[in-house]
Structure formats: C-alpha cells, structure tokens
C-alpha cells in the first residue's frame, strides 16, 4: 500500500475532486483549483482558498480548504453571544440575560474549512489534513491573519430541522436555505446576514430548543472538533448565524501541533 500524502491540489486532480465532492461542475472545480494555485503563491493574506488534497498514490481520499483572510469578498456575519446583568439591590434582584449581537467580528481571520473525505479514507485522514493546514500557516505566518477560526455545523440537519434557524432566522428570511459547502460557500449565507436583526437580541426570547442549540456543534463533526481542540482552537462565543454552531478560534502564535 502506498503512503498517504497531503499536498496542494493540482489541475490533474480535477476529475478526482469532481468525483469526491459531487455537487459542482467541471468549470467550478477548474475555477477553484486555479484560485487555490494563486492562493498558495500569494505572499500576503488573500481571500482566495488554498485547497489541500489527501492522496494515496493517485487516489484522492480527501480535501480541505484554508482561507488566509476570510470575509473580504462577501460580508462574513456571525452572532457574538454575550450577557447583560439586570441587577437591583433594592429589589433583591440579580438577573443574567444572554444576548446575541450580529456582527462581522470574524472578518479578516484565517479560516479552516471543513474537510471532505472519501468513504474509504483512513482514520488518520482528518489529522493529516489539519496538520498540513497548520503547517502551511506556521511556516509562513506573514501570509495569514493572526487569528485562525473554524466554523462548525450546528444542531439539526439542514434548515428544516435546525432548531436555531427555526427559532430565529426563518422569521427574517422565509426562503429555503442551501446547505453550507466547504469549497463553494453559498453567497446566500452572507446575504441572509443583511436580513437579520442588527440590534442585540435577548436569547431568552428564543424558543428553548433554539436556546439549547446555541454553540452546540453537530455530532457529525465530533472527530474534527476534537482535533481542532488539540490544536488549541476554542469556542469564544462566536456563532453561526444560520444554525447557531460554534466558531472555534485561536491566535496563530498559540497553535499547537496535532498528533497524527
């Protein structure tokens, strides 16, 4: 069995990538791969996505994207969860209320996109891809933003079943939500941010199911989340505007290596 390796995706991987990813056409993949080549060569933090390929011999087993500086082409929205305290000594009252504030706090950060694996990818595939992504950042930090983030999918499966979306987003955008796509992020996910409340929200006004989903990652990404945790990324209160999934963050100079 030949050795596993991770390298920058290359034009000859087009057909294999199409087979791996599915929901895209050849023109899109060509565009993605060309952009990736430019990104790998770019000496400053670029908005274009580097794509890493995991191969065994010539077989493409997985791919993962890395953006040096995100949210520079379309506004990148997130909710920041915070709290306000309403206290009155006279009334013996001390109440904490959780808030959600829409913002573009993640703009400019370096972003790890969720990896995509082939069905027969080996167990170490995720770690190998993450290690390659981290090495790329650490080898040339001047080419990246100083913060590295990764947004994890939240609870539910698509917009219908996402309790956070049902409790919040759908009141402001009633149309169907396209699923997120690690390599071709739907512009709609940015445009929706324009329709969401600009004033802070009290999360206590949301249905309990939506509150319970705040900052909860989908079980499907548990292995990936564990690796990010190993690398030093932590939830700091930034949430997906769509499903309430957590955004994990770390300062680049505090990243730790992952075991493969």
């Amino acid at each position: 069995m030949s050795k596993l390796q991770v390298r920058a995706i290359a034009p000859q991987d087009t057909a294999a990538f199409l087979a791996l990813h599915g929901n895209c056409n050849e023109a899109q993949v060509s565009g993605l791969l060309a952009a990736s080549q430019r990104a790998f060569a770019c000496a400053s933090p670029t908005a274009e996505m580097r794509v890493f390929a995991l191969l065994r011999g010539n077989q493409l087993l997985g791919a993962a994207g890395l953006i040096a500086s995100t949210g520079l082409e379309l506004p990148r929205y997130s909710f920041r969860s915070g709290q306000v305290v309403h206290a009155s000594a006279e009334m013996g009252m001390f109440k904490r209320a959780c808030t959600l504030v829409l913002g573009n706090d993640l703009t400019g950060a370096a972003e790890l996109r969720l990896p995509q694996l082939a069905a027969d990818a080996p167990p170490e595939a995720l770690a190998l891809l993450l290690q390659a992504q981290l090495n790329e950042v650490l080898a040339q930090p001047q080419r990246f933003a100083t913060t590295l983030i990764c947004e994890l999918p939240g609870q539910g499966d698509g917009d219908q079943a996402s309790p956070f979306w049902q409790g919040l987003g759908r009141h402001f955008y009633s149309g169907p939500l396209p699923p997120d796509d690690a390599f071709f992020p739907p512009a709609l996910r940015s445009h929706i941010g324009r329709l969401l409340p600009k004033h802070p929200l009290y999360s206590s006004f949301l249905p309990e199911t939506a509150q319970a989903a705040l900052g909860q990652a989908n079980a499907s990404c548990t292995p990936w989340a564990a690796l990010l945790h190993q690398a030093g990324l932590r939830a700091r209160g930034q949430l997906s505007i769509v499903d309430g999934g957590p955004v994990l963050e770390a300062a680049v100079d505090e990243l730790r290596p992952v075991e493969t």
Partner: protein
C-alpha cells in the same frame, strides 16, 4: 342617546373624606388599572397630594396629581374616579415601548421585510397623563362616562399653565381571569421570573421606571415573541374599551406607544387638538327659568380649581359668545356659580352627530 338621568351626578375634586368610598372603588377596579392601588395608605397619600395640588398656585406642570370623583348627589355615593398626573414620570422617566418598523432589505435576494420592533423610550416623559378612570358598571351605558373622562379636559382648558402641551393616557392590555398578561409572560417574566399580578404589586408601590430600568433595554423584535404575546400588542383589556373609545373620539392617537408591562395602548395627543379643547366655549352665566329639557346635552364646568365642579345638562347655548348662558338656579347652585361668573361648556356630542 340616553338622556341624563333625572338624578344629577357631580364631577368634583376628591377630598380626604372620600377615602372610604375610594377604597371600595379601588377594590372593585380591574387589575392593571395601576393608578388605583387597593391600599388605604397609598390612596390616602394620593388624596392628600391631590388636595395639595388643587390648593397650590402652580405655574408650570410638576409633580402634582389631580384626583376627581363622580358623586351621586341623591345618595352621596361616589360612582367613579378619574385623575390627571401633571407630568408623567416627574423627576424621573416615564417609560413606554414605541412601535417602529425596521426594513431589513437585501438587494441580492430581492427581499425587503418590514420588521415590527418595540423600542423602550422616554418620549412621553413630562407629558400630562390621564389616570385612574373607573366608573360604576351601572352607569357605563349612559352619558356619565363622558363627563367623568372629559371634564378633566375642561379643567385643563381652564388651567393650561398647570399642564404640559402634550397629553397621554395608558390603557390596560389583555389579561386572563387570573390576571396573567401574555405579553408580560413573554417579555417581563423572562427577566424577572415573576408573574404579572406580582409585578403590578411591586410596581404599584414605586415608580414604574424602577422596574423599567430592569427590563430589556434593546429593541424587541416582535416576530420572535410567541403568537399570543404578539397579538396582545396594542390590544385592550375589555374593561378599558369604554374609556379608550372616549379618548379616541376626542382625537387621541393610539398607534405609536404601548405599555411596558402588558402592551396595552398608550394614547397621546397635543392637548390643544382635542375636541373638548377646540370646541368648548367660555360663557358668562345669568339666571333663568328651569332647565331647558329641549336643549343640547352639554358638559358644563365652572372655572375654579379647588371648587371645580362639572356636570351634564341640557342647555340652550347662545349663538354668540357675547351673550349670557341662562341657567336655572339648581345648576347655578350645583356648580357654585353666581350670576356674572363664567363657565366652560362643550356639547356632549360633536356637531352633526345624534344627540
């Protein structure tokens, strides 16, 4: 309309000696009235403050409250109450929620959504406030609620320096038989963890702004509230329909503000634009024969402060303000008038409507 019943009701300032009867009224009044606490001490304070205000020389609106009663002269029973606070939230803030629409638009998506929001505001701070309206249910169907509500406006017309140029009035919002408000359950209760009757009791003893400070300070996005709370916004408690209609007929506007606790509508208007302000006439009186039973139903009030008196009567209004209004002795005595004094009169119904 139902003609003024033969017995006569008199609208006058409340007195300390009215306390036992006002206690009885406060106990009977609906939950949510807010300004008539069923508490002897506080009612006493209210009457004392009111007596002081009527007796004081006032040249700018301040902390005064004016408390009026409707007395059945045959029985001596008080049949209703109404009041005015000269300056809402005096020395502090008067909180309301202001209805606003925010348009959330995306050109890319071709979407422009109008989102209804409620903004905590102090807009009505310093406005004069109509308060404490309660009338005995037996009198609801007749003309007396008009007197009880609108005689306050004649008092204000006569003493404008005591009041603000803007006038507002709160109305209780919907609640169930146990006193639970769907709006409070969705908003206030999530912050306080106490139900509406408890909140009313807490607020009753203090300025309402005390609780308002602890309420959500950011705008409330109405679509995020449960459906029953959304439906309650701007709606009336059934007990408030009668006084509310009188205020709307006067020209109050009801679309802008709602109450912080139960989202009942808070109406407001410039004082000078109200019907009773625009259409009242100040006329000199002289003494004549018995009451003219074929005349026009009117509110009539003297021009006093402590001795302010108003009632309903059928009057033949002179065509011209220079001419005397001829009143029977009974009315002169009731309103504590001497020949040559002036009165303010305003038709019970607007010109052209059935009387």
């Amino acid at each position: 309309m139902i003609a003024p019943t033969p017995e006569r009701l008199l609208f006058r300032p409340g007195r300390l000696s009215d306390l036992p009867q006002i206690e009885r009224i406060a106990a009977a009044s609906a939950i949510g009235i807010g300004s008539l606490p069923p508490d002897r001490e506080r009612l006493y304070d209210k009457l004392r403050m009111s007596s002081h205000a009527f007796g004081a020389e006032v040249d700018v609106s301040g902390e005064e409250i004016y408390f009026f009663v409707l007395e059945d002269l045959q029985t001596g029973q008080l049949m209703g109450t109404s009041g005015i606070a000269a300056s809402a939230g005096f020395g502090d803030r008067f909180y309301s929620y202001r209805n606003e629409l925010i348009v959330h638009a995306s050109a890319e998506l071709g979407v422009a959504n109008k989102i209804h929001t409620l903004h905590l505001c102090h807009d009505l701070t310093g406005a004069s406030l109509l308060t404490s309206f309660y009338i005995d249910p037996a009198l609801e169907a007749g003309p007396w609620p008009q007197l009880l509500s609108r005689a306050r406006l004649l008092f204000m017309a006569e003493h404008p320096q005591r009041f603000a140029a803007r006038l507002a009035a709160e109305s209780p919002g919907p609640c169930d038989a146990a006193g639970h408000s769907p709006f409070w359950a969705a908003v206030g209760e999530r912050f306080f963890g106490i139900d509406y009757p408890q909140a009313e009791r807490l607020a009753g003893g203090r300025s309402k702004s005390f609780i308002a400070e602890l309420m959500p300070q950011y705008p409330i996005y109405v679509p995020l509230l449960p459906p029953d709370a959304q439906l309650a916004i701007g709606q009336l408690h059934e007990s408030a329909e009668l006084p509310f209609k009188i205020l709307l007929d006067e020209g109050f506007e009801a679309d802008t503000y709602v109450d912080l606790f139960d989202a009942g509508p808070t109406v407001e208007a410039p004082l000078a634009q109200l019907r009773s302000l625009r259409h009242n006439r100040r006329l000199r009186v002289s003494r004549g024969a018995d009451e003219n039973t074929s005349g026009q139903s009117c509110l009539i009030a003297n021009t006093q402060t402590q001795a302010f008196r108003a009632t309903l009567a059928r009057l033949s209004l002179p065509p011209d303000d220079g001419q005397d209004l001829v009143l029977p002795l009974e009315l002169l005595e009731l309103l504590e008038l001497s020949v040559g004094d002036e009165v303010r009169v305003v038709p019970l119904h607007p010109e052209g409507s059935p009387s």
